[in-house]
Assembly symmetry: C2
Homo-oligomer: 216 residues x 2
């Protein structure tokens, strides 16, 4: 079972740490502010207040024994770099960092970070996808331009069977899953009848899926 | 063609606005800081410097004519609320807001926001999924605990056919797509032979998918 240490318990760090705990993993939360540590103590396996730029303090909690350390410090880039370099030199196998700009990302990768995320940037991109497919709810882009997308069933299809809707020939998309209320129908049969409020998970090009989701 | 206005061009707002422009949409970018407006002028269709809490200023740019307005203000919650309420009362059909906490989300929905996102929180959750499925690449959570996930083909399956791998009986997951290099094989036939480097898109519970992705 992997063990994680999350340095910096701001909105991003705390959300990451609590989701890891919910999925059953041991998580050590680290922050230098005592009031943040107290608040986090209820939701994270173990917490400790220390300054992550202090290599001796990190050695004292045996940071090298964790499989993955995530450095989730934002405002102070110097602290971000120092905590990353200290974790790597104490032997941590995988160090994942948060950055605020592409330039920060480049620098963190050069000093040894294994993976860098830009949370606000990625969230902005994702919202743009959701907003521009009028019915796009969520999406995995498999390659540029081709994706698996969750859309609301177009009104014209309500009452039709999958066979009658003829999705592959008319729109070039393949239906993978129908979400009907709380029930998931994986690879529905051709006699499935579409209902109001159904959600469809389809695969195809973004244009074809866009065309399908706009028929109403 | 939908038109968007993005109020607040911080990391999230700017990333959202530029992605919308890249996808071919008209975007009006709004911020009260002149230097931010100057920097954004190169990447956004049109920009204007104004205080979004000032209803007359919003009326002057005809904010009511935009299909969707996104309020991406973070630090100052009062500005966030005022800009949301002003946009709604000027007739904007869909107002999407960014919030920093669940409590802020509740308040924004009560004053008329149509949709609220918590970017840092969502990014923290997403990274937790990526880190805990050693092979999880991307994921759509259809319901709590059930998702469509992109994983690397487990080493034990390389050289086997889909029929021999017996995914549904042994792991309880259904294979939807195989990504083999640049080729996408949607709903592969039972005689498909798995190759090194293949990416699999499967549907199932997060535990079952986690079990499959950890067999190596
Ligand atoms: N040297 C350090 N050692 C330990 N914790 C630190 C250190 N420097 C900053 N932190 C903590 O990291 C957390 C997140 O940092 P900060 O607020 O700068 O990032 P942020 O990008 O605004 O965060 P978010 O967007 O996730 O809320 C804070 O709780 C802060 O106390
Ligand atoms: N009343 C206002 N009118 C217009 N723009 C505003 C107003 N208040 C704040 N802004 C702008 O909104 C932008 C984002 O706000 P802020 O920095 O508070 O959010 P943030 O959550 O830190 O942003 P991000 O995480 O996206 O970088 C800033 O560029 C700021 O100038």
């Amino acid at each position: 079972q992997q063990e994680f240490a999350v340095i910096g318990l701001g909105r991003f760090g705390l959300s990451l740490a609590t989701t890891l705990v919910e999925r059953g993993y041991y998580v050590l939360g680290i922050d230098r502010e005592r009031d943040i540590i107290q608040h986090a103590a209820d939701v994270i396996t173990q917490v400790v207040a220390l300054d992550a730029t202090d290599e001796n303090a990190l050695r004292a909690v045996d940071i090298g024994s964790f499989d993955t350390v995530i450095v989730a410090i934002g405002e102070n880039f110097e602290c971000n770099i120092m905590a990353t370099v200290a974790s790597k030199s104490l032997g941590v196998r995988r160090v994942v960092c948060k950055a605020r700009t592409e330039r920060q990302r480049d620098i963190l990768l050069r000093v040894g970070a294994d993976h860098v995320v830009l949370p606000e940037h990625e969230a902005g991109q994702r919202l743009a996808y959701v907003l521009t497919g009028p019915n796009f709810l969520d999406q995995i882009e498999l390659e540029p331009g081709i994706s698996i997308t969750e859309i609301r069933v177009p009104k014209t299809m309500v009452g039709e069977t999958l066979l009658e809707s003829d999705l592959r020939r008319r729109y070039g998309v393949t239906l993978l899953v129908v979400k009907h209320g709380k029930t998931l129908v994986v690879l529905p049969a051709t006699d499935y009848v579409f209902q109001e409020e159904d959600l469809l998970v389809v695969i195809g090009t973004n244009e074809d899926i866009g065309r399908l989701s706009e028929t109403n």
